[in-house]
Amino acid sequence: MARKEYAFYPGCSSQKGASASNYLVSVQSMCKTLDIKMTEIPDWNCCGASVSYAESGELPRIAMNARNFALAETNLPGQEIVATCAACWLGSRESKERLEHNSQLLADTQTALKEAGLQIKAIPEIRHMVEVLIEDLGYDELAKPVKKPLQGMKFAGYVGCQTNRPFGIAGESFENPMYLDKLIETVGGEAVKYDQKVTCCGGALAFSEPEKAQAQIKDIIESAYDNGAEMLVTPCPLCQANTEVYQGQINKKYGTKFNMPVLYYSQLMTLAYGGSSKEAGLNGNVIRASKLEQFAGK
C-alpha cells in the first residue's frame, strides 16, 4: 500500500517514444522513491490542448476532457487525477471548472458522453505532479530521500506559462513563482535569478510562427546564460521541447552558441535520489546534460 495513490494522466507527449518520454521515465523513478502510486487512466484521450481552439468548439473540447474524468471516476474511484503535462492539467482543470459552473454545458456533455457509454457523477480533483509534490508531500519530505545533492550546479528554473497561469500553484505569484527554485534547492542545486522565468516559450506557435517563438526562446536561454545558469529546468513538456530543440536553429539565425541542456524537475530529483542516468531519462535529452551524466555515473 503506497502512501499516496493517484489516477495518472500522462498525456500524449509523455508516452513511450513520444516527445516527452524521458519526462515519463523520470517521473516514474521519482514516484517510486517517494512511494507514490500512479495508475494510468485506462484508455485516456488527448485533452485537446489550448491550441485546438480554432477548429474545435467548446463542447467537443470539453467532451474530450470529460471522457477522461468519467474513465478515471469509474475505474479509479476516489482518486485524484494527476497530470504531468501543463497543457493536460490546464485543459482538464478548465473543463472541470466550466462543467461545474454551467449546468447547460454539463447536460450537453453528458448527452455526448452517453454516445461513448460514459457519464460523469462527481469530477475528481485535477492536480499537477508539482502540486502533489509540494502540497501533498512538502519540501521537507522531498528533501529526505536526497542521497546525492546536486552541489555546485546552477539551474535556471523555467516555469513558463501553463503551470503558472491562469491557475498556478497555490500561494505563488504569476509574475515570480518560486516553487521551481525551491525544488532545485531542495535537491541541493543552485537556482539562479533571471528575469525570463515566466516568459512564454511560444507554445504551439513554435510550429506556426517559428520566428516569433524562437525570438522568445532566445531571450529565455540568453538570460539564463547571462545569469550563470548551466542548465534549464522546467515542469512542462512543451516548454522543454521548445527551449531545447530549437537552440540549433536559433544559433543559425542569431549566430549564438547556445548549447544548454533543458531538464525536467523530475530528472533532477531522480538523480538526487541516487537514480541512474537511465532512470532519470537523461538519454532522452537532445542536448546531452553531460555534467549530470557524469554526476550520475559517480
Binding site: G17, L59, S208
Partner: protein, 212 residues
C-alpha cells in the same frame, strides 16, 4: 461555409457586438473592456513583430461594428495561450479565451484568413488528436510541414532534420508513427460518436441564438 457567414451577418444586422456575444465562446466579455491596454502590453508575441490588431483593439473594433476587420484579423492567431493578459486584466476579462472564441467563430463561418499558419496548426492538431484519440506527433509534424505543398515541406523537413534526428536518437520521436502505428485509444468508435454528438449539440445551441 460562407453562406453561414451571410446568414449570421443578416441575423445580427449591424449589431456585431451581439453577434460575438452570442456566437463566440466567451464573447459576452467583450463589452467589459475599459481599453486600458494591459492585455496588449502583456502579450509576448506582440513584442517581436507587429500584428494587425492586439486584443483590446479587437474588442474596440467589435464594439465599433467592424465585422470584416475583426473576422479577417490575424490578431487572434498570435495567441500562444500564455495567459498573461488573462491573469492581469483589471476587469477580469478572460482575454485568452475570448481571443480563442473569436478565432473559432471566424473559422466556423468561413471568414478566417486563408493560410493562417496557426489556424492550420490548430485544425491539424485537432484532426490528428481526435482521429485516434491521441496525438500522433510524427504525422502532426509532417502534415504541418507539408501544408504548403511537397516542396516547401521537404525544405522545411530538411531544415528541421537535425532536430528531428536528435529527437529520434533520444527516443522521443517514433518513426513508426508515420505509418499510423503507435499511440491510439481503444474506443476510437466511442470517441468519434461522442464528438459527433457534441458538435451537433453545439451547432444547435449556437443556431438557436439571436433568433427572436
Amino acid at each position: 461555409m460562407s453562406d453561414l457567414n451571410q446568414e449570421m451577418a443578416d441575423r445580427y444586422k449591424n449589431n456585431f457586438l451581439k453577434e460575438i456575444e452570442e456566437q463566440a465562446e466567451m464573447g459576452e466579455w467583450v463589452k467589459m473592456c475599459m481599453q486600458c491596454g494591459l492585455c496588449s502590453g502583456s502579450c509576448p508575441t506582440n513584442f517581436h513583430s507587429g500584428w494587425d490588431h492586439p486584443p483590446q483593439e479587437i474588442f474596440m473594433l467589435i464594439r465599433a461594428g467592424k465585422r470584416e476587420e475583426v473576422l479577417n484579423s490575424q490578431g487572434m492567431y498570435m495567441c500562444t495561450s500564455c495567459y498573461n493578459c488573462y491573469v492581469r486584466c483589471p476587469r477580469k476579462v478572460p482575454v485568452t479565451h475570448v481571443m480563442h472564441g473569436i478565432a473559432e467563430y471566424a473559422y466556423r463561418i468561413g471568414r478566417a484568413p486563408k493560410a493562417q499558419p496557426t489556424m492550420h496548426l490548430s485544425k491539424t492538431f485537432w484532426t490528428n488528436a481526435t482521429k485516434t484519440g491521441r496525438v500522433n506527433e510524427v504525422q502532426l509534424t509532417q502534415s504541418l510541414y507539408f501544408k504548403e505543398g511537397i516542396g516547401a515541406g521537404i525544405k522545411k523537413a530538411m531544415e528541421m532534420q537535425s532536430e528531428a534526428l536528435g529527437l529520434v536518437k533520444a527516443g522521443r520521436l517514433n518513426p513508426m508513427e508515420a505509418l499510423g502505428m503507435g499511440h491510439k485509444c481503444k474506443d476510437i468508435k466511442g470517441i468519434h460518436a461522442m464528438l459527433a454528438k457534441a458538435e451537433e449539440l453545439e451547432a444547435r445551441n449556437k443556431a438557436a441564438k439571436g433568433k427572436e
